[in-house]
């Protein structure tokens, strides 16, 4: 079992990140090397400055707010929560002063961010079971949502354990040792990381996250990078 843990927590993480970074970079370069469209793809009336509107379209989804307000609330919540969690993971490497403007323990939001994220994911998933979104969806859409949900559940569970039912064996310091060792290419698995009762949660969390990263460059998740240039095209 410890071998499996090791494979998931060390080599697979490296492979996943390599696929993610290289894959995304190669795909973006490939797309950018295609010739431009010969004519404008703008929608009128135009609003100036158009780059500012393109930014707002990308980060605030005003068209969704207008046409599907409920979905918009969930989408906004989801993306903001995701941002919080990314910050949380960065803080698992070391403390950053800038994030501590609002003083907090590592992982903002006292465990609720993960909970909220899980709820929004369930919402996204279940709305796909209803027509006509059902007819539009392809397996990839369900798969990615389920994968994300699993990542969030197992990840949050570790956070909840520490905060909500005072489970103290796996500490932030343990994660820091593990993650930094990966970062500095001297992989080290502290005893607590692999031998405590909650270690399997960590392993599952990392396993699903690895899968997610490896799917990223080849799936619709690329919308994270392409949304801005696309909105710029529409804004002219």
């Amino acid at each position: 079992m410890q071998t499996v843990y090791y494979i998931v927590l060390v080599p697979m993480v490296y492979v996943a990140f390599a696929v993610f970074f290289l894959g995304t970079a190669i795909r973006i370069v490939k797309i950018l090397r295609e010739p431009k469209n010969p004519s404008t793809l703008q929608i009128f009336p135009e609003k100036q400055p158009n780059w500012l509107y393109a930014l707002s379209d990308t980060f605030f989804f005003p068209t969704v707010r207008r046409h599907k307000p409920v979905l918009w609330v969930f989408l906004m919540t989801f993306h903001v929560a995701l941002l919080f969690l990314i910050i949380g993971h960065v803080e698992l490497f070391q403390e950053f002063k800038i994030f501590q403007i609002i003083p907090h323990e590592v992982f903002l939001g006292k465990g609720f961010v993960g909970l909220i994220l899980a709820i929004t994911l369930l919402f996204f998933l279940f709305r796909r079971f209803k027509s006509p979104t059902k007819e539009l969806s392809v397996p990839e859409d369900y798969f990615l949502l389920i994968l994300l949900f699993l990542i969030v559940i197992f990840g949050s569970q570790m956070d909840w354990a520490r905060r909500w039912y005072e489970y103290g064996e796996l500490t932030v310091e343990d994660y820091q040792v593990y993650l930094n060792s990966l970062l500095y290419l001297k992989p080290e698995l502290p005893y607590n990381v692999t031998f405590t009762g909650h270690s399997f949660m960590l392993v599952l969390h990392v396993f699903f996250a690895n899968l997610f990263l490896m799917f990223f460059p080849f799936s619709q998740l690329m919308h994270s990078f392409l949304a801005l240039p696309m909105n710029k095209l529409r804004r002219g």
Partner: protein, 418 residues
Amino acid sequence: MDNKMRDELLNLFRSKINRAMRYYLETCTRCGVCTEACHVYNSMGQTKYIAAYRHEIVRRLYKKYFKARGKIWPGFGEAKGLSDMTLEELFDAAYSCTGCRRCMVFCPFGIDTQMLMSIAKLMLIGANAEPEILTMLADTSIEKGKSLELFKESFLTGIKNLESEVVEKWKIEAGETAIPVDVEDADLLYVALAGAHSIIPAAVVFNAAREKWTLSFFEAVNFGAFVGDPTRTKLIMDRIIAEAKRLKVKEVCICECGTAYRVMKQLSGKQPFKVSSITEVQAGYIREGRIKLDKTKFTDTITYHDPCQIARNGGVIDEPRYILDNLTDNFRDLTPEPKYNWCCGGGGGLVALGDETLDFRMKSARVKVDQVKATEAKILATACENCHTQLSNLNDHYKMDVAVRFLSSMVADALLPQ
């Protein structure tokens, strides 16, 4: 379908891929925000008319043939091979989409359905499965560009016959020509459609504004664009560019034809002349005081249908409203606003296909009828030949009891003597 054919069609697909197309093919999250955008879906309620559903038919091929994923794990994205059945689906998707790009306004990423459908349309041409009549019409236009001399005489006789009608509406000075043709160094080249209705009112207004203009030998309509053939589209456009350069005009003014305007405006590239729509030109005349309009000419309430290719996709939105403000005190705009205006249901070549598509056009544009009815207007003005035909058909079919009018001809009718 044999392998050779499949390869040829996939090459055509490849030829359409550029940066923007990759964005559109890669990105859709199938979120369904575009569901209520399409007039066809809203009028008929079938899932296959949702924009994203149309995209997926093209996208499945993309996933299958242009992404490694389609080979390793096709089921993941429902990647699907190209078969005769796919061609039918492509036809259904592309020729029920008018290319109005209303869905592009809804989509959080701004995916352009018209672009994606242009892949389908090009592949259909490759498979000889496109509506033949559109290709034939396109070829006739191109032929005319090549052998202008053959057409010239009959064209000029036809134009001569219209002149008396122009003079009837607006007196010209002795020695002037009512419909000048082939005038070198004119300021403006007017590209009309075949048919007196597109020439007479425009000529009257040009003469009233004392424009130094000349009429093009060619008609504006671009059947190449309707059938989604980039080569033919360009050949048809190039005839007019060549004529404009030969005559050294400063401005090319496109008649009331949405597709012709957008193609010329956005695809002609950098040229020594500017491209305008007749609506812009006429609004300019009013603004500069070159023509004056009689506000008592039309007493009924007027509303205006924005042709998609001219307004949402071409940017001519304020000008028609400026004209209408000078034409009537009884203008009632449609809701929602121009960016969200419902397509008339006749674009993308559907009107050009005539009776063949009539039933579908009537069913798919129910929402347009409701939108017009809500204004209680008696006159429905527009600035596109296609829209005019389609709106007239809708008027008959749904007994809308409105008069469908070209905006330019209303301007001609309301001219005040200076």
